[in-house]
C-alpha cells in the first residue's frame, strides 16, 4: 500500500467533527524544551521565530531594547513591544509493538495496536498543524534496534509517519523497557514523548527507563491502551488461556478466578497511576471499545485546564 493510501486509511478514520474539535486545541508542552512559552522564559536562541504580539505602555524597568522608537518618533509615545515566541517543540511518537498489543477483544473496534495507531496519527496531525516537529520511534521486529524517524515539521512528515504507523506489526515478548531505553539513547534534546502501550509488563522493568526519561528532561505523556477483556475479564467458559507473547498455556475457570483477577488488575493499575503521578507524567487510559476521539479530546481538554 502506498504512503498516500496508508495515510488516507488513517485520515478516513478522522471524524470531521472531531477534527474541528481537535483543531481548536493545541498541545502545549508543559515544560520548556527550548526557549520560553508565552514570554515566561527567554529564549537563548535569538532570531528564532519570534512573533510581535502587541504594545504596552512603558513602565520603568522595562528593557529599553524593546522600546519602539519609531512609534515614539511618530506618536511621541513610549511603548514596549510584546512578543510571542513559540519555540518549536519536538515530539516523538513511541508505540509499543509487543505481541500483547495485538489483542482484539470481542467488544473492541480494533486491536490495541489499532487504537494506538489511531491516537498516534491524530496527535501527529495535531502537532504538525502546530508547526511542531514530530518523529517516531518503535521497536523493529526483525532487527535488534529501534526504528527511528527523525522529527520534522514538513508537510510530508505526516504521510511518512502514517506509513510507518500502518506497518507496525505486533510481535515478540515484553519490549517496553528496551523501547524506553532506546528513547533515552536516541533522543538527546528535550522533547515530548508520546508513549502508546498497554503497559502489561512488570512495573519494575519500566520504572527505571521512565525515570531516566524524566531525568533527561523529556516530557512523557503515556497513553495506556487496554481492552475490556483485560479490564473486566468477562469470560465465562472454562478454557485454556494462551499468552500472546510467551505462549504459556493455562487452564482457567473464569468464573472462579474473576474476582481475584480483577483485584490483581486493579492493584496493577493503581501501581501505574502512582508511578506516573510521582514522575509527573500524564497517564491516559483508553479502551478499545471507547471512541478514541472522545478519549483524546477529554485528555487534551484536561491537560489544557491543567496548564
Amino acid at each position: 500500500m502506498s504512503t498516500a493510501a496508508q495515510s488516507k486509511n488513517l485520515i478516513d478514520q478522522f471524524d470531521p467533527r472531531v477534527m474541528s474539535l481537535l483543531s481548536s486545541l493545541d498541545l502545549k508542552a508543559r515544560y520548556l524544551v527550548e526557549g520560553f512559552l508565552n514570554g515566561l522564559h527567554q529564549s537563548p536562541f535569538h532570531g528564532l521565530s519570534v512573533e510581535f504580539s502587541e504594545y504596552r505602555d512603558y513602565q520603568p524597568g522595562d528593557d529599553l531594547r524593546h522600546l519602539d522608537w519609531h512609534l515614539y518618533a511618530r506618536c511621541d509615545r513610549l511603548c514596549v513591544k510584546k512578543y510571542t515566541q513559540e519555540t518549536n517543540v519536538r515530539m516523538y511518537v513511541v508505540v509499543d509493538t509487543s505481541a500483547s498489543m495485538s489483542y482484539h477483544g470481542a467488544d473492541g473496534w480494533g486491536s490495541k495496536l489499532d487504537v494506538a495507531r489511531t491516537l498516534a496519527a491524530a496527535l501527529t496531525h495535531l502537532m504538525l498543524r502546530q508547526n511542531d516537529a514530530v518523529g517516531m520511534l518503535s521497536m523493529d521486529q526483525g532487527a535488534d534496534g529501534a526504528q527511528f524517524i527523525r522529527p520534522s515539521q514538513k508537510p510530508s512528515q505526516f504521510g511518512l509517519l502514517l506509513h510507518h504507523l500502518q506497518r507496525l506489526t505486533p510481535a515478540g515478548g515484553p519490549r517496553l523497557a528496551d523501547l524506553l531505553d532506546q528513547v533515552s539513547r536516541l533522543i538527546h534534546r528535550r522533547s515530548v514523548v508520546l508513549l502508546f502501550s498497554d503497559l502489561l509488563e512488570p512495573a519494575a522493568s519500566i520504572t527505571a527507563p521512565l525515570q531516566q526519561l524524566r531525568f533527561h528532561g523529556h516530557e512523557c505523556l503515556v497513553f495506556q491502551v487496554l481492552d475490556r477483556d483485560e479490564t473486566e475479564f468477562p469470560f465465562s467458559q472454562g478454557s485454556v488461556f494462551r499468552d500472546l507473547e510467551s505462549g504459556t498455556r493455562r487452564t482457567v475457570d473464569p468464573t472462579a478466578i474473576r474476582q481475584r483477577y480483577l483485584e490483581r488488575f486493579a492493584a496493577f493499575m493503581d501501581e501505574h497511576h502512582e508511578r506516573f503521578r510521582s514522575l509527573e507524567m500524564p497517564h491516559c487510559v483508553v479502551q478499545t471499545n471507547q471512541d478514541p476521539w472522545a478519549a483524546l479530546s477529554m485528555f487534551l481538554v484536561e491537560r489544557r485546564r491543567m496548564l
Binding site: 500483547s100 490495541k112 485454556v240 494462551r242 499468552d243 500472546l244 504459556t248 493455562r250 482457567v252 483477577y261
Partner: protein
C-alpha cells in the same frame, strides 16, 4: 489368500500422504483456547497440558488419505497369487500325431482330449508344450504359453489327411526341451505308432539327452483296411476316338477280398468293377477305360463303395487328364506302316506330321525347327545326321529305328552313342521278355484291355549297345530291344528294329498306333510339372512369362460351387502354392481367367493306409542317450515367471481399487463443496 502387488515400488507414491496430513495440521485450531494478553494476572492457575497435535477435520483427512491410498494400491496392480511360488520340476512335450492314420477309431480326438486334460489338471510345476505332427512338425503350444490359450488352440485343431515323420516331431520336441526349465524332461507321443513312420530312421544319431520318451500303448498290431492308391490315367487314340485308360491299385489288409470299385469322370459314372483280391495277395491293379473328348479336361475319381473299413478316408482317389494338344512331328522314314500310322487321318488332332523326303525338306525343317518330335530311320542318317543331332541338342525328342547295320550307318550311329554288334538270328521270335512296365510308353500294357506285349513278334533286330542309355525292353534272348538315352538335351528312344513286317508284327496289332503315340508323347519336349500331391505339400507352379500372369489361384473343383482355397503371386515366373489339407481335385487358374491352366491331384498319402503298429520301436532307443549323473542345475529351481500383466489385469482387483479411490475423491470434493456453500 495373500495379496501381492505387481509393481510394489509404486507404494513409494504413498509418501505423498504427508501432504494432506501437513495441511490439516497447519490448519488445526485449538478449540476453546483464548489467546490472552494479560496472563500475568493468571499466574496461579495450573498450566494446561499441551494437547495432542491433532489435525483439523479428522473425517475429511481420513477420506483424503483413503482416496490416495486406494489409487496408489490400484496403480501398484494388486493380485492374488497362487498359494506358493511354484518351482518348475518337469517339462513335458506332447507330440500330437495328426496324420491320416491316427484318425482310426478316433485316435486323434482321444489324443487331443488327453492333452486338454493334462493342461487343465497338471500343476504349475510342470511345463507343457505341444508339437503337432502333420506333413511337418509344428510347435502348436510353447512353454510359458497360457494354458487357456493352449486349450483353445487344441480345440480348434482339425484332423488332417497328411503324413509326417516322427523323427522331425521328436527333434522339434527336443529343441523345445532345451529351452525348458524343468530338470526332468519328457516326450509323450500321442499317436498310433504306425510302423512305417518309424522305419527308415534307424541311422539317426542320438539326440535325446536325459529325456524320457513315453510311447502309446498299442492294442492290436494291425487294423483291417482297404485303400486305393497310385491312380494313373492316360489317353490312347483308337481310330478316330480317344480312349482314356484309368487304373489304380487296390490295397487290402486284414479285410474281405471282394470289393466294388466305381470310376467316375466329370461327375459321371464311367465304370463299376466288382473286384476280388486273391487271398495270397495284398493288392491288385484295377483299370477301366472310356471314351473322352480329347479337347476337354478329364476330372474324375475312383472310390470303393460298400466296404466299411477302419479308415474310409483312403477309399477314394482322384485323377485328372489335361486336354490333348496337337504336337508337330517330323517324319524321316520310308516305312509304309509308319507313314500310314502317322497320316493325318489317323493322327488327327494329336500330331501334325511333316514328312521330310527330300534333302531340301530336311534343310528347311532344320532351319525352322518347327516340330516337337523327330521320327527317323537310321537309313536316313546320311542325309539327316546333322538335323538329328541339331534336334537333340535343341531339346527335341527323337525316335530312331535302327534298320541297317551298314558301315556308314555304323559311323553315324556311333556319333549318337550307339554301337552295332553282330546281328542276332532271324525268324519268328517272341517279342519281349522283359519290359519296363513303369515306363510311360509301356504303361498302357498294364491294362489287359489295351493289349498284350506277348502278341508282338520280333522277327529281326539289331544288336545294339548304347552308352548313357537305359534299356526298356529285352528280347527272349536277353538282348535289349528298346533304349532310352539321356545323353542329349532331348530324349532319344532307340529301337533295335524297324516297324516293318520284316522286323516285327507290331504294325499289324491294334496297339501299334497307340504305342507310337505314347512314344511321341514321351519324347515331346515339355516342361515337367508335378501334378500329383499329398495334402500339406507345396507346389511350385511354373508360369510362362508370355502368359503375363500376376496371380495364380487354386480352386477346389470338388466343391459346389468351386471355391478358391489358395492364392499366390507370380514371382520370377513361378507361383508357390500350399496344397490344401483335404484330398481332392484343385484347378489352377490365372488371375480372373475362366479357363483351367492345370489341375492338381491331391490324394491321401499311400503310406498312411498301412495300419500296422509298433509298440516299442527300437529306433527310439537309438535316439536316446544318458549323460553322467550331475547335480540338478539351478535351472530346476527357477520359479515360474512372474505373473503377467495380463493375468493380473484379468483379476480386476486393481479396477475395484481404482473405482473406490475415485469414489472417495468424489465424496471429498462434494464434502468440501457443501462446506463452502454452507
Amino acid at each position: 489368500m495373500s495379496l501381492s502387488f505387481l509393481y510394489p515400488l509404486m507404494w513409494l507414491a504413498a509418501t505423498t500422504a504427508i501432504v494432506p496430513i501437513v495441511l490439516h495440521l497447519r490448519r488445526r485450531r485449538d478449540s476453546r483456547v483464548v489467546h490472552f494478553s494479560a496472563m500475568q494476572f493468571l499466574e496461579d492457575q495450573p498450566l494446561a497440558r499441551r494437547p495432542f497435535i491433532s489435525p483439523r477435520d479428522w473425517p475429511l483427512l481420513l477420506l483424503r488419505l483413503l482416496a490416495l491410498l486406494l489409487l496408489v494400491a490400484a496403480f501398484a496392480l494388486p493380485y492374488f497369487p497362487r498359494m506358493r511360488q511354484p518351482v518348475i520340476t518337469d517339462s513335458r512335450v506332447y507330440v500330437l500325431d495328426n496324420t491320416l492314420s491316427h484318425r482310426v477309431d478316433g485316435g486323434f480326438d482321444g489324443a487331443r482330449e488327453t492333452i486338454v486334460n493334462a493342461l487343465s489338471r497338471t500343476d504349475v510345476e510342470t511345463q507343457i508344450a505341444v508339437v503337432e505332427l502333420t506333413h511337418k512338425a509344428d510347435a502348436l503350444v510353447s512353454f510359458g504359453e497360457g494354458r487357456d490359450a493352449a486349450m483353445m488352440k487344441l480345440q480348434a485343431l482339425e484332423p488332417s489327411y497328411q503324413r509326417g515323420s516322427y523323427l522331425s516331431a521328436f527333434r522339434l520336441a527336443n529343441s523345445l526341451l532345451q529351452q525348458s526349465l524343468g530338470a526332468r524332461r519328457h516326450i509323450v507321443l500321442l499317436g498310433d505308432s504306425q510302423t512305417n513312420q518309424w522305419d527308415g530312421e534307424l541311422g539317426t544319431p542320438p539326440f535325446l539327452v536325459d529325456t524320457e520318451v513315453l510311447l502309446p500303448e498299442v492294442g492290436s498290431p494291425t487294423r483291417p483296411n482297404a485303400a486305393l492308391m497310385d491312380p494313373t490315367i492316360q489317353s490312347v487314340p483308337r481310330g478316330n476316338r480317344t480312349i482314356v485308360q484309368c487304373s489304380t491299385r487296390l490295397f487290402r489288409q486284414g479285410i474281405d477280398t471282394d470289393f466294388e470299385v466305381v470310376f467316375r469322370s466329370n461327375r459321371n459314372e464311367t465304370a463299376r468293377r466288382q473286384v476280388t483280391i486273391p487271398r495270397d495277395a495284398d493288392a491288385i491293379t484295377i483299370s477301366a477305360e472310356w471314351e473322352i473328348q480329347p479337347t476337354e479336361w478329364v476330372l474324375g475319381e475312383i472310390q470303393i463303395e460298400g466296404n466299411p473299413d477302419s479308415m474310409p478316408e483312403d477309399d477314394r482317389v482322384v485323377f485328372s487328364l489335361a486336354p490333348a494338344r496337337e504336337g508337330r512331328l517330323a517324319l524321316l522314314a520310308g516305312s509304309a506302316f509308319l507313314r500310314t500310322a502317322l497320316s493325318p487321318e489317323v493322327m488327327r488332332g494329336r500330331w501334325n506330321v511333316s514328312v521330310l523326303d527330300s534333302p531340301d525338306d530336311v534343310s528347311a525343317a532344320g532351319k525352322t525347327t518347327d516340330f516337337n518330335v523327330l521320327c527317323v530311320e537310321s537309313n536316313r542318317l546320311t542325309a539327316a545326321r546333322d538335323f538329328v543331332i541339331q534336334a537333340l541338342d535343341a531339346g527335341h525328342g527323337v525316335l530312331l529305328f535302327v534298320d541297317r547295320d551298314t558301315a556308314v550307318a555304323e559311323g553315324y550311329l556311333r556319333e549318337l552313342g550307339i554301337e552295332l554288334n553282330p546281328p542276332g538270328p532271324r525268324g519268328k521270335l517272341p517279342g519281349f521278355r522283359y519290359v519296363s512296365m513303369e515306363h510311360p510308353i509301356f504303361r498302357p500294357f498294364r491294362s489287359p484291355d489295351f493289349g498284350s506285349l506277348d502278341d508282338i513278334e520280333i522277327h529281326h533286330h539289331r544288336n545294339l549297345q548304347l552308352t548313357d542309355a537305359s534299356p526298356l525292353a529285352f528280347s527272349h534272348t536277353g538282348q535289349p530291344l528298346i533304349w532310352e538315352s539321356n545323353r542329349w538335351k532331348g530324349r532319344l528312344l532307340v529301337f533295335a528294329f524297324t516297324m516293318d513286317r520284316d522286323d516285327t508284327s507290331w504294325p499289324m496289332l491294334p496297339t501299334f498306333v497307340p504305342f507310337l503315340d505314347k512314344c511321341f508323347q514321351h519324347l515331346r519336349r515339355q516342361v515337367s510339372i508335378r501334378t500329383h500331391f499329398e495334402p500339406g505339400e507345396t507346389c511350385i507352379w511354373p508360369v510362362d512369362s508370355e502368359e503375363k500372369v500376376n496371380q495364380v489361384s487354386l480352386v477346389a473343383e470338388d466343391a459346389i460351387p468351386p471355391t478358391v482355397v489358395a492364392r499366390a503371386e507370380v514371382e520370377q515366373n513361378q507361383a508357390r502354392l500350399s496344397i490344401p489339407g483335404r484330398p481332392g481335385l484343385y484347378a489352377i487358374r490365372y488371375d480372373d481367367r475362366p479357363d483351367i491352366a492345370g489341375v492338381l491331384d491331391v490324394n491321401p498319402p499311400a503310406q498312411e493306409s498301412y495300419l500296422s503298429y509298433t509298440a516299442s520301436p527300437e529306433v527310439v532307443a537309438t535316439w536316446q542317450c544318458v549323460q553322467t549323473a550331475v547335480e540338478p542345475s539351478s535351472k530346476s529351481e527357477r520359479p515360474v515367471a512372474a505373473h503377467s500383466v495380463r493375468e493380473v489385469l484379468r483379476q480386476r482387483l486393481w479396477w475395484w481399487l481404482l473405482l473406490a479411490g475415485l469414489t472417495a475423491l468424489m465424496l471429498e470434493t462434494l464434502w468440501v463443496s457443501l462446506r463452502t456453500v454452507g
